[in-house]
Symmetry: C2
Subunit: 277 residues, 2 copies
């Protein structure tokens, strides 16, 4: 994510962050990836694979497809490669270091594109989507998955917790990204020239009756993600130590026996227009 | 809703409101009622049936059940009765005017309770739920459906639109209700003594690819509901004419070709504890 056109990656590259992304991917795998499988013999490109958290699930669901996983960060690619070697040793993945604004592939090289938690970090996601159409064959599909932090609602409600979430939204915006991008995906993809753009909300709801989601999503994914921007939020003067700590405590409070947490991911399937007859 | 324990009904009783509730029920019927059917021979009580918008769907899904529809408003019951006579003439519904805090039925008179868009208007929904257990047999089920206006996110985003929604939330709160109750249902039902409380989010997502939802939900249900509190919001000094008009215009703006709208309903199924052995 070091392209001049690419925002700095708001979540950072720490070991803690790598673990957080892996927790997130495992807990949410079925919710996010259910229905995504690339047929045997097809070529698929994962754009912005990061540390490979989603790559492992893609490979598991599409063992016969040829998957190319691309990222701009050498370090992320190394972690992704190690992750796949450890968890899916038989996986046949081709790794590629490249900027998503300049993918080093022939025109129409792929049957499928997969873009997950990437557009939210780009200053011009519409341009990225339009440019990626070049390497997707006419009639090929693109799958996009993004969150939208505006969808986070919880009990007990807390203005401090909402303000802490707002700090991440603001930092991501200042870095050129958009943590509220989920709601925008339909017009973004349509505007980039894709057709048959269908958005499928994937809603996470956690309460005491779903302890794996309370732990894996509310605590170890969402709240951990907010906690990870503490120093940046303080340095930017977006909050005070007291307000921040109260906000984080109130997010953790939603994991108690009478707490609840709701969040919506947006999954989109769209098609590159077939060539004119 | 004229009990001393019951908040005044924030949406009012106008003809416009009656039409709005019917639009809402038809558009959302499958989303909200899918999976709800009472077996033949069982007795079910609809608590707070209002103008019968949901009653028609209950009857259609459970033709062999004996349904009692209860409301505190004579006028609503008359409208509900007329509605059922027009749309489901063969329906076998028993109508009952009563306060939900004092249901005129024997202990354990029902196998199922159904409570939809009612708790949001009560100052003490937990007490209502606990009291209703008396007329539900041990082992019987309760189905609860409520919205949560905090889940409304849309594109283009607009602070004016959010402020207009906030006016309704505030008015409903001032009237003793809670327009953000969806997120609270799990602890409410558990606290009222129900067991096996399972919450199922039902997410509405509307964009140009789903024109029936853009029209039926974004425009004619949600935005119409916000518009209906205009005079009260102005009278209470919660907004100005200019800001209000801008907020409503921005809500309508989300129905344009590049607009999107997201809202989550919370549907809960729970059980009255079986009698101790």
């Amino acid at each position: 994510m070091d392209s001049a056109m690419t925002a700095s990656y708001v979540h950072g590259y720490s070991e803690y962050e790598t673990r957080r992304l892996a927790d997130q991917a495992n807990t949410l795998a079925e919710l996010l990836h259910g229905g995504t499988a690339f047929p045997a013999g097809t070529r698929a490109l994962e754009v912005g694979c990061g540390v490979g958290a989603q790559t492992a699930h893609l490979v598991a669901a599409s063992p016969g497809a040829h998957l190319v996983a691309m990222d701009v960060s050498d370090r992320s690619l190394a972690l992704a490669r190690a992750r796949l070697a450890a968890h899916v040793p038989a996986a046949n993945v081709e790794w590629c270091r490249a900027d998503l604004f300049d993918p080093p592939f022939a025109d129409a090289a792929f049957d499928h594109l997969f873009v997950c938690f990437v557009l939210e970090h780009l200053p011009d996601p519409g341009r990225a989507l339009a440019g990626l159409r070049r390497v997707l064959r006419p009639g090929g599909t693109i799958t996009v998955i993004e969150g939208d932090h505006g969808s986070a609602i919880f009990h007990p409600d807390s203005g401090y917790a909402r303000a802490a979430i707002g700090c991440l939204v603001r930092l991501q915006s200042d870095a050129g990204g958009n943590a509220l991008i989920g709601r925008r995906l339909q017009p973004l993809l349509a505007g980039a020239g894709y057709v048959e753009v269908r958005v499928h909300p994937r809603t996470v709801y956690a309460d005491r009756t779903r302890p794996a989601l309370v732990d894996g999503f509310t605590r170890n994914t969402f709240t951990a993600m907010i906690e990870s921007v503490r120093d940046d939020a303080l340095a930017a003067g977006l909050t005070t130590r007291t307000d921040w700590d109260r906000g984080i405590a109130d997010l953790h409070r939603t994991t108690a026996d009478d707490g609840t947490f709701h969040y919506t991911f947006f999954k989109v399937l769209a098609v590159n227009p077939p060539a004119a007859g």
